[in-house]
């Protein structure tokens, strides 16, 4: 596609075209009327001559004087355009004069009325000849129109001679208003290009005297630039503010993270201190406890006969039960802290086998009970084998314990999915628990049932939660009092 012409060029061509057309039409009209004028004046002149000759030649015709008629016709020879002239009487040529080499006009001999005929380059005029109202014949004069053609050409030439400079002048004059229109538009175009290239919105089109619409266009363009400039400044401003805010937030976050890390470190240190404290306390408590138990035992065996009455023996037995229970507590606490301190060793564990082993051990320990135990086959997980065994010891132990009052005790181990992650569950149809207290289940020393109802130290589920947390997993429980409980746990990492 060829590029579109510029507005200046378009307007230029338009003015050339319009003035050229107008001039051509005017020239043609002028030429046409001039030619009509020339034609009619030529005709008039010839008719005048014909009238004169028709009048003068009448007696020659009347008196049958061919010679005199010829002489009279011969007077026309001074006219260079004359081809022939003659008198026709009763359809026959009475007298004729013709230029050398030009055949006499023979046509239309019957014509008796006045008139004329324009042929290609010839004109014939007819005039009746009469005397006192008596028609005598017809005169014809036949002339060549080359003179007229020359006049025609001269007129055309002069018209062209006048028209061409007139056209040039018209075009020059048309340039003035055209510049007034095209210059502001060209200015505007280059300004728009500059704005688009340099993104400089501060430039303005100069005000120019031009057509009202162009002036309005320039005004609107400038107004638009002002608006764009304003919006641009606003956007820049907003961006600067946003960047400032992002920087502020980043700084804030960094300081907060630092704070959290410090807190985390402090917390971990405190935790470690607490663990070592509880370990040492547990450890150190065992020696005095063993002393109390040992001496209580010695008292019972050595002083039973006579020295101690029935009440004394009972008190001592109460002391011993208390120490044994305390010993159990200390053992559990040591166990819990050991669980926390041991490094995690992930291996692929046959979960089914682990659960089966724990269940078998529980059944062996309590041979009087029958618990229907269902363990899903082929369960596998990536976990610390020892810690996972502890988890099942606690969860299955609980299940065993809380189904103790039921004849149709049933415990289930299987796999399900929680939030797209593989999860294991241990379900029983035992005592269950009040769902309102589900949050308290996993705290150390938290018990939902009285000790007299179900024995236990309240450390088990805390240990489970600690192990699962160390694996990066989650543990949860759901239960209905008197119907049963289900414990779910995930193990994090890859299954």
């Amino acid at each position: 596609m060829s590029p579109s012409p510029s507005i200046g060029r378009s307007l230029g061509w338009l003015s050339i075209f319009s003035s050229g057309t107008a001039l051509l039409a005017a020239s043609l009209a002028l030429l046409f009327f001039q030619l009509q004028e020339v034609k009619s004046s030529l005709l008039l002149r010839l008719e005048t001559v014909a009238d004169l000759i028709a009048f003068n030649i009448a007696p020659a015709v009347d008196f049958n004087d061919v010679e005199a008629a010829k002489v009279m016709l011969g007077s026309l020879q001074t006219r260079p355009a004359l081809l022939s002239a003659g008198v026709v009487v009763n359809g026959r040529i009475f007298a004729v004069y013709s230029r050398k080499g030009v055949a006499p006009e023979g046509g239309d001999l019957r014509r008796v009325s006045a008139g004329h005929r324009f042929d290609d380059h010839e004109l014939t005029v007819y005039r009746p000849i009469s005397s006192q109202g008596r028609p005598l014949g017809t005169l014809f004069i036949h002339i060549d129109l080359h003179e007229y053609d020359q006049t025609w050409r001269r007129f055309a030439f002069i018209t062209g001679l006048v028209a061409i400079p007139a056209l040039l002048i018209a075009i020059l004059i048309a340039q003035l208003p055209q510049r007034a229109i095209s210059r502001p538009i060209l200015n505007l175009a280059s300004l728009a290009a500059a704005v688009s290239d340099r993104k400089d919105y501060s430039v303005r089109a100069p005000a120019m005297k031009s057509a009202a619409e162009i002036e309005r266009l320039v005004g609107t363009f400038n107004q638009m630039l002002t608006e764009i400039q304003g919006q641009h400044a606003e956007i820049e401003n907003a961006r600067a503010t946003l960047e400032q805010r992002v920087a502020d937030r980043t700084r804030e976050l960094e300081s907060r993270t630092e704070q959290l890390e410090t807190q985390g470190r402090e917390l971990a240190a405190a935790n470690r201190e607490l663990e070592s404290f509880s370990y040492s306390v547990s450890h150190d408590l065992r020696a005095p406890l063993r002393a109390i138990d040992g001496f209580s035992k010695a008292l019972l065996s050595d002083y039973r006969a006579g020295a101690l009455d029935q009440r004394g023996v009972h008190f001592l037995e109460r002391v011993r039960a208390g120490t044994q229970r305390m010993s159990q507590l200390i053992d559990d606490m040591l166990h819990l802290s050991k669980v926390t301190r041991r490094p995690l060793e992930r291996v692929v564990v046959d979960v089914t086998a682990v659960a089966q082993e724990v269940a078998t051990e529980l059944a062996r320990r309590d041979p009087d009970r029958f618990v229907h135990c269902v363990i899903e086959p082929n369960l596998r997980a990536s976990a610390d084998s020892h810690l996972l065994t502890i988890v099942f010891e606690n969860l299955l132990g609980n299940a065993w314990k809380f189904t103790g009052s039921r004849e149709d005790a049933r415990v289930e181990v299987g796999q399900t999915s929680i939030g797209g992650e593989a999860a294991f569950f241990v379900r029983d149809n035992g005592a269950g628990f009040n769902a309102a207290y589900a949050g308290k289940l996993f705290g150390a020393f938290q018990r939902l049932h009285h000790e007299s109802e179900f024995e236990g130290t309240g450390i088990g589920l805390a240990t489970v939660k600690r192990i699962i947390t160390r694996h990066g997993g989650l543990v949860s429980a759901e239960g209905v009092e008197g119907v049963g409980a289900t414990f779910y746990f995930t193990l994090g990492g890859k299954p």
Binding site: F94, R134, P135, L136
Partner: protein, 189 residues
């Protein structure tokens, strides 16, 4: 309109016939041509209004001497008129009767009486036409001349016509050989 065209037809036919006969001069009888000429002269010459206001008086063409026309002249002027006056042809028995005419044809038989005739008609508005030799030169107004190729031409004595108070049209004068004064040299154009 129709009426006028209707009336023009006989006119056209008559004159057409006359011209056709004149055009064939070689074969047409000489006096038929001359008779036609006499009538045609009346259309190129203007007579003063008749004395006494008698406009209804006919236009009289008289023939003096031996009449060479026979019935031809009367035939030519039948139904015609001069300036609204009907034409009558009359053979004169006496020269004096010429004064009652408007046009007189002087026969060549009257060669000897020319002096008498012209002096009688001196100052009278009577056109004199003759076909004898040297008629115009001797004081006649229009002399008819037959050329060697049998064409009829005419001489006009302009002074004689002006004396009589008649007005010949320039067209007619243009066609004629003009005889200004009676001269000795005869001959034709």
């Amino acid at each position: 309109m129709t009426r006028r065209i209707f009336w023009q037809w006989p006119l056209l036919l008559t004159t057409g016939l006359g011209i056709a006969q004149a055009g064939a001069a070689a074969t047409a009888p000489e006096y038929q041509v001359k008779a036609a000429f006499i009538y045609k002269f009346t259309t190129y010459i203007r007579w003063p209004a008749p004395v006494g206001g008698n406009a209804a008086r006919p236009f009289v063409i008289g023939v003096i001497g031996k009449d060479p026309f026979g019935p031809l002249l009367a035939a030519v002027v039948r139904e015609q008129s001069v300036q609204g006056r009907a034409i009558r042809v009359k053979t004169l028995s006496r020269i004096e009767e010429a004064l009652e005419c408007d046009l007189v044809f002087v026969s060549s038989s009257e060669r000897g009486n020319l002096g008498q005739i012209f002096s009688l008609l001196h100052g009278a508005s009577v056109l004199t036409v003759g076909d004898m030799d040297q008629f115009a030169e001797q004081g006649g107004m229009i002399g008819l001349v037959t050329t060697e190729d049998n064409h009829v031409r005419f001489d006009i004595n302009r002074a004689a016509i002006e004396r009589s108070g008649l007005r010949a049209s320039s067209q007619l004068l243009h066609l004629a050989r003009i005889i200004d004064e009676p001269r000795e040299d005869g001959g034709h154009r």
